[in-house]
């Protein structure tokens, strides 16, 4: 009986949240396992926000309720700066399939906007507020841009761990697949600013800028993804009006430039 419960058969493979980004779904063997919280990490200008938004737009087009939580800049400003997608439809916003929340508005509601450090109760309050929105709207895909900015007001590793664990548990229980955008410096030797986020997240997608003979290439690499087999190779990406496109990074038989 117990053997049957724990055996892994193809039928019991986890349901996938198809990102709609062709190359990424191929890399992930069909998409992100539903309910996973994935760290999208990289330095500035690597395409984290654009790719995260595309993930939501494809979800909304497939009829899923999607939410973008903007922490550092207003949603409106962010929307004005992303690549205009050919497949974007205004009705997605009008019909409530794609919605935006600015985190400072949540802080203001909770009267913690100007606090330099949050207490454990306040952190739990933020997670509770996000959970309420997810439950109320029936959100199945969520992006927080960026989790690093939220963590900035948590200060200690304990609080950061508590916040992320609590958030991931809450979202997973709702069957919500989330992308948590993480900002790191180009020379960082780890995947998150505080070092805690990467250990807890179900997945890590590393986005970077690779300099090769004076050319700057945008790259993507899935470092970790629980619940699926996946490629760990490095890919080159382009942000285009038809969406994020990916091709393998050429290695030239092991020449310099293959990293």
């Amino acid at each position: 009986m117990a053997e049957e419960r724990f055996s892994i058969t193809p039928e019991k493979k986890r349901e996938r949240c198809v990102t709609g980004i062709d190359g990424l779904d191929t890399i992930l063997n069909g998409g992100i396992p539903r309910g996973n919280s994935v760290l999208i990490t990289g330095s500035c200008g690597t395409g984290k926000t654009t790719m995260s938004l595309e993930f939501l737009v494809h979800g909304a087009l497939a009829g899923e309720k999607c939410l973008f939580v903007s922490v550092t800049e207003s949603s409106l400003k962010m929307l004005n700066n992303v690549v205009p997608y050919d497949f974007f439809e205004e009705r997605l916003i009008d019909e409530g399939l794609l919605s935006f929340v600015d985190m400072p508005d949540i802080y203001e509601e909770m009267d913690i906007l100007h606090k330099s450090e949050f207490s454990f109760d306040e952190i739990n309050g933020v997670v509770k507020r996000l959970d309420d929105i997810v439950a109320e709207k029936g959100i199945k895909r969520l992006v927080i841009d960026s989790i690093t900015s939220v963590c900035f007001q948590l200060k200690t590793q304990e609080k950061i761990r508590d916040f992320i664990l609590n958030l991931m548990k809450t979202l997973s229980a709702r069957g919500c697949t989330s992308l948590l955008v993480s900002e790191i410096s180009p020379e960082a030797e780890r995947y998150s600013l505080y070092g805690v986020e990467e250990a807890i997240a179900d997945g890590i997608i590393l986005m970077g800028n690779l300099e090769r003979q004076g050319d700057l290439l945008r790259t993507l690499q899935v470092v970790k993804m629980r619940g699926t087999e996946h490629s760990r190779a490095k890919y080159v990406l382009d942000l285009t009006p038809v969406g994020v496109l990916l091709v393998p990074l050429l290695k030239g038989g092991g020449l310099e430039g293959g990293d």
């Binding site: 003979q213 290439l217 285009t240 038809v242 990074l249 290695k251 030239g252 038989g253």
Partner: protein, 188 residues
């Protein structure tokens, strides 16, 4: 050895998804390029993607315009103008790649154009393997062509890879032999 006129006939019976290496004499280069642009799509719902690392797209466009060849269905990828500090203006139908060393971006722009402008049939022309060989090591060039042509086959897309006879080398011939189904020497 085939003439440009014979090439036109051969292209008409080309199988979808096939890749042809076209080794052309310098003297026949423009005649061949304009013949492909004019004749291959004639009577078919076909888009041409012309990836150039040899001469700027603007130059090819000027020649096509001078010959009054319709180019609504031709999209250019220009991987030479940025490098030569040439014109990178907003010429309609031209997508730029910063350098011919950014081979991944040539592949990405090809994929972008195939998705952006869907057509019943698609042809990708790579002009030329020799100019790419100036800027890239043969091993990375072989890897690039292998991935590009394999992807194009998956789209049932025709691939025409131009090499210039006067700049031929055994290494380049070997790369073309590895990825192409057929090899034609074109003369005027």
């Amino acid at each position: 050895m085939v003439s440009v006129d014979e090439l036109k006939e051969k292209l008409k019976v080309m199988e979808p998804g096939s890749a042809i290496a076209l080794k052309v004499d310098v003297d026949a280069y423009f005649e061949m390029v304009t013949a492909i642009a004019e004749e291959f799509p004639k009577g078919r719902e076909m888009n041409l993607t012309y990836a150039t690392s040899t001469i700027p797209a603007e130059t090819i466009i000027s020649i096509l315009d001078a010959l009054e060849i319709k180019r609504d269905n031709i999209h250019f990828i220009d991987a030479v103008s940025y490098m030569t500090m040439g014109s990178t203006g907003r010429e309609k139908g031209v997508t730029f790649v910063e350098s011919p060393t950014m081979l991944e971006y040539i592949m990405l722009k090809v994929e972008y154009l195939l998705k952006k402008f869907p057509a019943q049939e698609n042809t990708v022309i790579l002009d030329s393997i020799n100019s790419l060989a100036i800027h890239n090591d043969n091993r990375i060039l072989a890897e690039f062509l292998h991935i590009l042509v394999s992807n194009l086959r998956a789209y049932d897309c025709y691939s025409l890879i131009i090499s210039v006879a006067e700049q031929e080398s055994e290494d380049i011939d070997n790369i073309l032999a590895m990825v192409c189904d057929d090899f034609m020497e074109v003369t005027s």
